[in-house]
Symmetry: C2
Subunit: 362 residues, 2 copies
Amino acid sequence: MATNIYTVIMAGGIGSRFWPSSRTARPKQFIDILGTGQSLMQMTWDRARHFSAPEQILVLTNQLYEGLVADHLPEILKKNILTEPSRNNTAPCIAYAAFKLYKKDPDAIMVILPSDHLILKESEYEEKIRTAISFVKDKEALLTLGIQPTRPDTGYGYIQFEKKADNDKVLPVQSFKEKPDLRTAQSYLDSGSYLWNAGIFIWKAGDVINGFKKFQPELYALFASGMDLYNTDQEAAFIQQHYKEAPKISIDYALMEKANNVYTVPADIGWSDLGTWASLWDIKEKDEQNNVLISQDRIILTGTDGCIISKEPEKLAVIDGLSDYIVIDQKDVLLIYPKSKEQQIKNVIARLEQDSEANRYL
Amino acid sequence: MATNIYTVIMAGGIGSRFWPSSRTARPKQFIDILGTGQSLMQMTWDRARHFSAPEQILVLTNQLYEGLVADHLPEILKKNILTEPSRNNTAPCIAYAAFKLYKKDPDAIMVILPSDHLILKESEYEEKIRTAISFVKDKEALLTLGIQPTRPDTGYGYIQFEKKADNDKVLPVQSFKEKPDLRTAQSYLDSGSYLWNAGIFIWKAGDVINGFKKFQPELYALFASGMDLYNTDQEAAFIQQHYKEAPKISIDYALMEKANNVYTVPADIGWSDLGTWASLWDIKEKDEQNNVLISQDRIILTGTDGCIISKEPEKLAVIDGLSDYIVIDQKDVLLIYPKSKEQQIKNVIARLEQDSEANRYL
């Protein structure tokens, strides 16, 4: 590959969806949620390495997780771990990376990846990214990978594309749609002209900076004011001082929904944002009773089906008569919850947040 | 009380009914099954102390548990912990204690208590034991406490008594009945002349020795042969060598069912043999949803009723949508089992016994 392809891994999330496996101190991207021996962060790094050498991979994360990133990614350059002093959503994060890369290499192409998603079809993924890179190389385009939807999911945003010719691999985007209700989601699925918005972006650093200049002048001005300082020993102090002044806004809202040079590459890459325990159950291999066992050993099940079960490796679990439950046994927390009610786990988390004594379980 | 009242606590059981709370290395009598801060052993000791000074209390236990007995009972005299080199059921155990006490004090009255039962009504219990002691003091009688049945339980043996006068506190026993089927148990309950056999016996040491002499001559001869050695420094060696030669037989079968000088004191003392998780659920205080929580703190329940839940004190348990389950979370074992199927837990234990790697969970 060309040497001007930079991967920007966004790893600032503190999502509590996989509680109690994920915790504030060790969020989802840092856990081996699949039981494969690799964290989602490590899997994302390995995917990045197909296009970028270690010196061309930036990880943006919360200051809290700087040490975890270094632990999980032995290959990473310390100077390439960029810490956000505040949580300002995705647009400032991407603007910061874009300015920094643009200063280093005005031809820099950015591949932006969330750190905590799953991609099962690696070679299809690679092919689509190559297609996207080729497209943006010579064109001022903002490109987002569009995931071929497989069900009327109400948990994702949708991308409406303009179909041109049957063999077009890159399509202009007509509009972005927020999370729909089920009926609308079904109509999107039926129409065949919608894709899931996965938060995977490909563009030149200069082009996204132009986009910010046009549609987010305040954000643009803030990060442009640091141009002399990026990639110097004054960068960290500048970010520490000014990052929190940036508007808290998502890249979708800040730019994608406004620009008219937005394109998508439809991709069937076995993607999941792993947003829920049920989504993990969906994609994992199951036993004959449709149970997903995160660690296989020392589990004795009878009359138990459709469950997802995770425990410490050395612990014995004996379970009878559970259907469609989440059973997560951590050293300090035991969760037994119906899969169908998992959205309510956040109420439990909210309750624990209220209770200073219980904060340590989060 | 008189100073010739000796309590013999039988603590040799290795019952696996409360697995995984009870283990081979720490059976039921040594666990705080009620969550009160006291083991059943300690509660039994406290009851014994109402009638006997520490030097008058013997504990018979398996060699494995000598250290545990000493740990749980700081008041006990080391020489009063009698270890059985083999498990020979209750008759040899009682014969050994009877000979040893008879040699020390020919007027010794023995109160024999299982170490792992529950008695909730302490003052009624005390009163019944006093009645029994008064009765056997001047009469060659084998007396067993009879528990007033409250349901047609098929898990207990029954005592059929001969009713004489309404205000008789001690009644002759007509026969012993083995665990009945439900229909028979119901007929026993309806008749009003049956009691549960609780394994609590009161008699003079000399009288039970006479009983053995008459009905179990082999057992009698074996323990009589050690008469010169009891309460000397040669006792332990004698027991170590010969105890295992004793017939393996229960006191009920060896003596109670055969003798014609058997009496009972009907007692309503809030007794349970705590033989099953369900029996523990029966007797424990419940929350508004009929859940029994062994440790109250750090349990968040929704839509959960009729359960019995036990966990490490510092662990948080979040449980939704379980009805009538046993949830036992130990450091190395998690059990989630329907209360109605608890008899099948023994199949799990049998399976673990077959597997040398899994033995450590027993």
